[in-house]
């Protein structure tokens, strides 16, 4: 029994190693390369792209989808889907407005975030306790949340009081470095979640549960509570995204952001997070959301007909997922 561990013990033909490590890097950072290519193309082909006004605008536009994409990424890493994201967004924004009306803007905003966390917790409990596949479980739960949003508002648009209207729009105000407050919220929250996922023991458990739930359970991890936590994080992200939308519109309503949960999942996947769970990163969700937003931005700047925008987005998603699968096959 040898106790000598030299790295050279692993023998691999050098040529094959080079090819596979190149493929690994492509798989890991291909999406960043694609992003940079589009940025350069837009910078060269338009005068307007690389202006600070446009960049501020771009980040502001990304904030809502970005927050949802990060929530989706956390859930997908842990092996579940959260289709309640946009319904949670609407319901918590509405609850936020209602609280604003009886208290003030700050309490209302805090209440919205708390509502998002609570709704995420409920979603998580429904999925883990019922044992239903998360796709179906959250689809059903999202109908309930949308329905509650209709009930609370009576189908109407809800506004803060006229005296509160100005403060209510605070997330659209310019802030540090000329960025909007919404962008700052987005950056701070995403950075915090990024650190949690990448550096904490909770993050480790998140990846383990998504990669192999049974192995995680047999390692003493409470799989159910990890999933519930992922849904709570997603709920908070949704609530913040809802507040940004409401703050911009000066109101909230039950049909807010309908269908956006799917765009968020698409952004997560475009960023390179494996749909199978156990792999991925928060920054990937951000890059995916930026990329999808960038396409819309490019269409505007280039004066292209936006009729083709969705087709291009769909093709991009297909391309990203196909590349991911192809590279994965090559490296295994």
């Amino acid at each position: 029994m040898s106790v000598d561990v030299s790295p050279q013990a692993v023998t691999k033909p050098p040529a094959a190693a080079n090819v596979s490590s190149l493929a690994f890097r492509l798989r890991d950072y291909g999406i960043v390369a694609a992003f940079v290519v589009i940025v350069i193309a837009l910078s060269v082909s338009t005068d307007t792209f690389l202006t600070s006004a446009n960049l501020v605008n771009l980040l502001d536009q990304t904030a809502v989808l970005g927050l949802l994409a990060v929530g989706a990424t956390v859930c997908i890493i842990s092996g579940v889907f959260d289709l309640t994201a946009s319904a949670t967004l609407a319901l918590s924004a509405i609850i936020g407005v209602q609280i604003v009306k009886v208290t003030n803007v700050y309490v209302g905003f805090a209440g919205a975030v708390a509502a998002g966390a609570l709704l995420g917790f409920v979603t998580g409990m429904v999925v883990t306790r019922s044992g239903v596949n998360s796709f179906v479980g959250t689809l059903a739960t999202s109908l309930v949340y949308r329905g509650l949003a209709v009930m609370v508002t009576g189908g109407a648009i809800v506004y803060p009081l006229a005296t509160q209207a100005e403060d209510f729009g605070m997330l659209t105000w310019p802030s540090l470095f000329g960025l909007t407050s919404a962008t700052i919220v987005f950056v701070v929250v995403v950075a915090a979640i990024g650190v949690i996922v990448a550096r904490t023991t909770f993050g480790r458990r998140l990846y383990a549960v998504g990669g192999n739930a049974e192995a995680a359970r047999l390692s003493g991890i409470r799989v159910g509570s990890i999933h519930v936590s992922a849904f709570v994080i997603s709920g908070v992200c949704s609530a913040l995204a809802g507040l940004i939308l409401a703050s911009r519109a000066g109101s909230a309503q039950s049909t807010m952001a309908t269908g956006m949960e799917l765009t968020a999942i698409a952004a997560a996947v475009v960023g390179g997070t494996s749909i199978l769970g156990g792999e991925g990163a928060v920054w990937r969700g951000v890059v995916g959301a930026l990329l999808l937003t960038l396409i819309g931005n490019g269409f505007n700047l280039l004066g292209w007909d936006t009729i083709y925008q969705q087709v291009l987005q769909g093709c991009l998603i297909l391309f990203a997922v196909t590349m991911d699968r192809w590279l994965r096959k090559r490296t295994r």
Partner: protein, 504 residues
């Protein structure tokens, strides 16, 4: 669909070999089977019987060798090819579509149709003919997942016949059957063979094979040991050939258990499903082996000890303190660890790195607040990796890039990092190369020497006998014997088979 006029082919297999990640499970097997013959395949768990059948049935592809029917070499690359050549495989796992009816399953992908429309009435008549031929009684409209397992098997046999199979290969068909159903099946096998169908039968029940087969092939460690007429063979011969004499691995001897070593792990009256009342005690420094056939409840017993499944009844104690049931974390807190049966399904998170996998079961020990202490973790993982000799180019590499032996060592490392008092090991060296196997054996005896209580389950009887101080034999979820060190493999296997005719 009729077998008339179609003579069953003679099968001729030459030099068939198969290996998984460098470990050979079949080595150069040559086999000839005559038309209309019933051919028995016997061997210990992992001898390569099922692999051979799966190759014939097109479920997996051989790495080497050729397959011939009636003297003509054929290529079987998929189940579709096998069916086209008239070979039908009935595997242990079953291959029915649970939510479909008996009728739809029998004619799966071979429904009668006119212009794409299924002609169910015609299929019902076809089914009635087959049912008459076999003597089964099945309701054609019943959903198969609501049928008892024995009837499900009949549905599979009906399907083989519906496809006009001229060779039917059955993997452990009687393991799930009651006495009466078993007799029916053996009767049917005789009738099919008399009508010209070739039958290949894997079974652990030697009497049964001897009573129905014309000839019997014994496999051991992927090698064909002998093919002979059933008439000149006794169960005793078969056992001797299955076990073999030569030992290709040098096993370390465990140190004797010190006198007065305290009992660390004890279990009383453990029950759940297959497991029908297990009592055991393991002392510090002792290695208890658990032997038995597949389905005897070995793995299930280990899982109950670890709390991976919740026992229906019974108590597990560590140092005399009862462990709370229902989740592995309670057993882990009491100092119990388990290396599970399948490292891919239950042990490792294949897409994550070596370091993350090794650290997974001891995360709380190395953190500051919520944050992982990467440096402390890296050092601890490095130390334990050197102890068990994991050969990885980089601890940050995904664990799926490692060889089976290194993955298995990483799985041991993951649990040893917790410094457990009790180590439960299910199949310590499955799918592991010879060098890593020896290292793992030394590791296990070394752990016992340091005072760990070890419970080990292995399908490799030689390994189990060499490592264990005592061997407990299970059959149908009950202990049927306990043997001290130095017992022969024949004795243990006889107890596991419940074969009274083999003298001990």
């Amino acid at each position: 669909m009729s077998t008339d006029g179609n003579r069953a082919p003679s099968i001729s297999v030459r030099g068939i070999g198969k290996s998984y990640s460098g470990v050979s499970v079949l080595r150069g097997v040559d086999l000839d089977i005559a038309p209309g013959e019933v051919h028995g395949l016997v061997g210990e768990n992992g001898a390569g019987k099922s692999t051979l059948l799966k190759i014939l049935g097109g479920a997996i592809r051989a790495d080497a060798g050729t397959i011939g029917f009636d003297g003509e070499q054929v290529s079987i690359a998929s189940p579709r090819d096998a069916i086209a050549h008239g070979v039908s495989l009935i595997s242990q796992e079953g291959a029915l579509v649970p939510a479909l009816s008996v009728l739809d399953n029998v004619f799966l992908a071979g429904w009668s149709h006119r212009g794409g429309l299924v002609r169910a009435r015609r299929d019902k008549r076809r089914l009635a003919e087959l049912v008459e031929l076999t003597g089964f009684t099945v309701d054609p409209d019943a959903r198969v997942d609501r049928l008892p397992i024995g009837v499900q098997q009949q549905v599979e046999i009906l399907r083989s016949l519906a496809r006009g199979a001229r060779v039917i290969a059955l993997d452990e068909p009687t393991a799930v059957l009651g006495e009466h159903e078993k007799e029916n099946l053996l009767g049917l096998i005789r009738r099919l063979a008399a009508a010209g169908t070739t039958v290949i039968l894997i079974s652990h029940f030697l009497d049964e094979v001897l009573s129905v087969a014309d000839r019997i092939t014994v496999l051991r460690d992927g090698n064909l040991v002998r093919t002979g007429d059933a008439a000149d063979t006794s169960p005793r011969d078969l056992v001797a050939q299955m076990v073999g004499r030569e030992i290709d691995v040098l096993y370390p001897d465990p140190d004797p258990v010190p006198d007065g070593a305290p009992v660390v792990l004890s279990a009383r009256n453990l029950r759940r499903g297959l497991v029908q009342g297990i009592d055991l005690e393991v002392r510090a420094g002792e290695i208890l082996g658990i032997a038995g056939l597949v389905g005897s409840g070995r793995t299930e017993t280990l899982r109950l000890l670890f709390g991976a499944d919740k026992p229906a009844d019974g108590v597990v104690e560590v140092d005399g303190v009862e462990i709370k049931r229902g989740a592995p974390r309670h057993a882990m807190a009491a100092g119990v660890a388990m290396v599970p049966e399948s490292r891919k399904e239950q042990g490792l998170v294949m897409v994550r790195s070596v370091a993350e996998n090794v650290a997974l079961s001891s995360l709380p020990g190395r953190r500051v607040g919520p944050f992982v202490r990467k440096r402390a973790e890296g050092a601890a993982v490095g130390d334990i990796s050197r102890t068990v000799d994991i050969r990885a180019a980089n601890p940050a590499a995904a664990i799926e890039t490692l060889s089976g032996g290194n993955q298995q060592k990483a799985l041991f490392a993951k649990w040893l990092l917790r410094a457990p008092r009790v180590l439960l090991i299910d199949e310590p060296t499955r799918g592991v190369d010879v060098a890593a196997k020896t290292q793992i054996h030394h590791l296990i005896t070394g752990l016992a020497r340091d005072g760990m209580a070890v419970v080990c389950v292995s399908s490799e009887i030689e390994e189990l006998l060499a490592l264990s101080h005592r061997v407990l034999v299970l059959r149908h979820g009950r202990p049927v014997g306990e043997f001290p060190r130095g017992t022969t493999p024949e004795t243990v296997i006889s107890a596991a088979f419940g074969d009274q005719e083999v003298p001990t």
